[in-house]
């Protein structure tokens, strides 16, 4: 665990998020998630890793409050009310009729922040994701990677306590994905939010996260909780190190067991 996470753990004894006995049965009778217990500490970067159908996206939507649990609880022990959330979907999910800037301003506008402040903050966020100069571009004029950057900027513009990401880079090519992984880590390091990252890629989860929660399907459940002790900041050196290869092997083994289970 890095020094920073240790700090975070010391300053708040209670977890940011506490999930107990969480289950979700859909109207068609499918059990998407069965009895999940999970605690998240403030400032963690956690990956939910699993095959398709293991309920990792459902878990993310349950955390966000978009989906109601069939049983169990999602609680925020240290918070007075549900904290500020950011959500990044698999698709960029931008307003096609609005410019990049207006898209990033949207969460602030909905929260009633005055226009000048909102635009300033949105422009700064766009600069942080490397999109200065594109404020007046429309989504359709941007590449897939750039649209995803806009989506990240929108997710972070409210300075959320927790950022939920649902396989955000799955549709991108490998070069763009690596770049965005690096940028995401840098943003996480600078902005200090808690990150929950859903993925089916072992390599992505090991590169990004300090903790990997492995899930299995039918019914969706947590089968392993792996600690990834590699220190941050991580870069290409880490991506090509023996440590990384070893961690990937461990996570891969856990995933294989999960698929076989």
């Amino acid at each position: 665990m890095s020094a920073r996470l240790a700090d975070a753990a010391a300053s708040t004894s209670r977890p940011l998020l506490s999930i107990r006995g969480l289950s979700k049965v859909f109207d068609n009778g499918t059990t998407a998630l069965a009895h999940v217990d999970l605690d998240l500490a403030t400032g963690e970067f956690v990956s939910l890793l699993g095959p398709s159908g293991c309920g990792k996206s459902t878990l993310l939507r349950l955390i966000s409050g978009l989906v109601r649990p069939s049983s169990g609880t999602v609680a925020w022990p240290g918070e007075v009310s549900e904290p500020e959330l950011g959500f990044i979907f698999q698709e960029p999910t931008l307003l096609p009729w609005a410019t990049t800037l207006v898209n990033v301003v949207l969460p602030l506008k909905l929260a009633g922040v005055n226009r000048r402040d909102a635009e300033d903050r949105a422009a700064r966020m766009l600069a942080l994701v490397g999109l200065s100069g594109f404020e007046r571009s429309y989504p359709r004029e941007l590449s897939g990677g750039m649209k995803m950057r806009v989506s990240i900027a929108r997710g972070l513009v409210t300075r959320p306590k927790i950022l939920l990401m649902d396989e955000p880079f799955a549709a991108l090519d490998e070069i763009t994905r690596h770049k965005l992984n690096d940028d995401l880590l840098r943003l996480w390091w600078e902005e200090r939010f808690t990150a929950v990252f859903v993925t089916h890629s072992v390599f992505e989860s090991v590169y990004l996260s300090g903790r990997i929660v492995v899930m299995a399907a039918r019914p969706g459940r947590v089968v392993a909780d792996l600690d990834n002790p590699a220190p941050y900041p991580r870069d290409d050196l880490f991506r090509t190190s023996a440590d990384y290869a070893h961690l990937c092997r461990v996570a891969s083994g856990a995933l294989k067991e999960a698929i076989a289970a």
């Binding site: 966000s64 409050g65 978009l66 959330l85 959500f87 979907f89 698709e91 999910t93 307003l95 096609p96 009729w97 609005a98 949207l106 969460p107 506008k109 909905l110 929260a111 490397g130 100069g133 594109f134 571009s137 429309y138 989504p139 359709r140 004029e141 941007l142 590449s143 990677g145 750039m146 950057r149 409210t158 070069i175 763009t176 690596h178 770049k179 690096d182 290409d236 050196l237």
Partner: protein
């Protein structure tokens, strides 16, 4: 090109990182223009014009060669002359018909959009009222026009009501479809940011409905004109109207066939003008973002 050894550090990875889109910058497209229009737009304008002229020439030739009398089929030249010579009568009628058409279209937009927003607020409201909108739509306007003319005191008001009945349904049904077709993930996003009903309507559902509404508007523009003309035919048989349809009836009784054609021409020209204006509005509103307004690069 020299080969880089894989063991030679991060040169390869760095190259790859530079090749991503983060380094890209917006580029403005420039295009050749002829007489203020895109060079590529001209064939699309010229082709129908040429076909039109050929058709008119053929018609004129037929009338002259066969010696067809003007009370059976006037040539296009005579029709054009009649438009000019009878302009004082025809222009008044054109104005009446256009006023009714535009008023009906505006009423159709206001009522259609308002009802669609109301239906989007409450599923029950939609279930309770939508069938009656369908009833209005499927009842032939010729059949109810006499009733409306009797009930409404003013002839123009009754024509307006008839034209509105014909025009409002495409706007209503298209706008309902549009309001319901906002991206589900975007709806989830608005929910996540605790957006109010009105905020979701204003910033998500209404813009998402815009292309559908505009599609409805194009159809309704033509229908409003048809409604106004058809209703006036019904009213005109009673001798109490003054629009273009009444001029057609009147010319028929008086066997002034060239004037009949002139009035017909003005109705068609109005329809085309309404279509062009609504298409232009649609283009202006959608050109920056909607697929329908984009040209594909080939």
């Amino acid at each position: 090109m020299s080969r880089l050894p894989l063991a030679g550090g991060n040169a390869l990875l760095d190259d790859a990182a530079d090749g991503t889109d983060a380094a890209a910058r917006p580029a403005m497209a420039t295009e050749r223009r002829v007489l203020g229009l895109r060079a590529g737009a001209w064939p699309g304008i010229l082709a129908p014009v040429v076909v039109g002229f050929l058709g008119l020439a053929l018609w004129q030739a037929l009338v002259v060669i066969k010696g067809i009398p003007p009370y059976v089929l006037p040539g296009p030249w005579l029709v054009a002359q009649t438009v000019v010579s009878d302009w004082s009568t025809l222009s008044g009628s054109l104005l009446v018909t256009l006023e009714i058409t535009l008023a009906a279209l505006v009423a159709a937009v206001v009522v259609g959009v308002a009802l669609a927003i109301l239906f989007a607020q409450s599923r029950w409201m939609e279930r309770a009222l939508f069938p009656y909108a369908v009833v209005l739509q499927v009842t032939p306007v010729v059949a109810i026009a006499p009733l409306i003319i009797i009930w409404a005191d003013d002839v123009n008001l009754s024509l307006l009501i008839c034209a509105w009945i014909v025009a409002f349904f495409p706007i209503l049904s298209n706008t309902i479809l549009g309001l319901n077709s906002a991206d589900h993930n975007l709806v989830a996003l608005f929910q996540l940011y605790r957006a109010g009903r009105w905020q979701t309507m204003r910033y998500l559902r209404l813009p998402a409905a815009l292309p559908y509404f505009l599609g409805g508007l194009k159809i309704s523009g033509g229908l409003a004109l048809i409604g106004a003309v058809v209703a006036e035919f019904v009213a005109g048989t009673g001798g109490s109207a003054s629009g273009l349809a009444y001029r057609i009836l009147e010319s028929g009784f008086q066997l002034r066939i060239p004037r009949m054609f002139a009035a017909l021409f003005l109705i068609s020209a109005s329809g085309v003008a309404i279509f062009l204006v609504t298409s232009w509005i649609s283009h202006l509103l959608l050109r920056r973002w909607h697929e329908s307004a984009m040209r594909r690069e080939t």
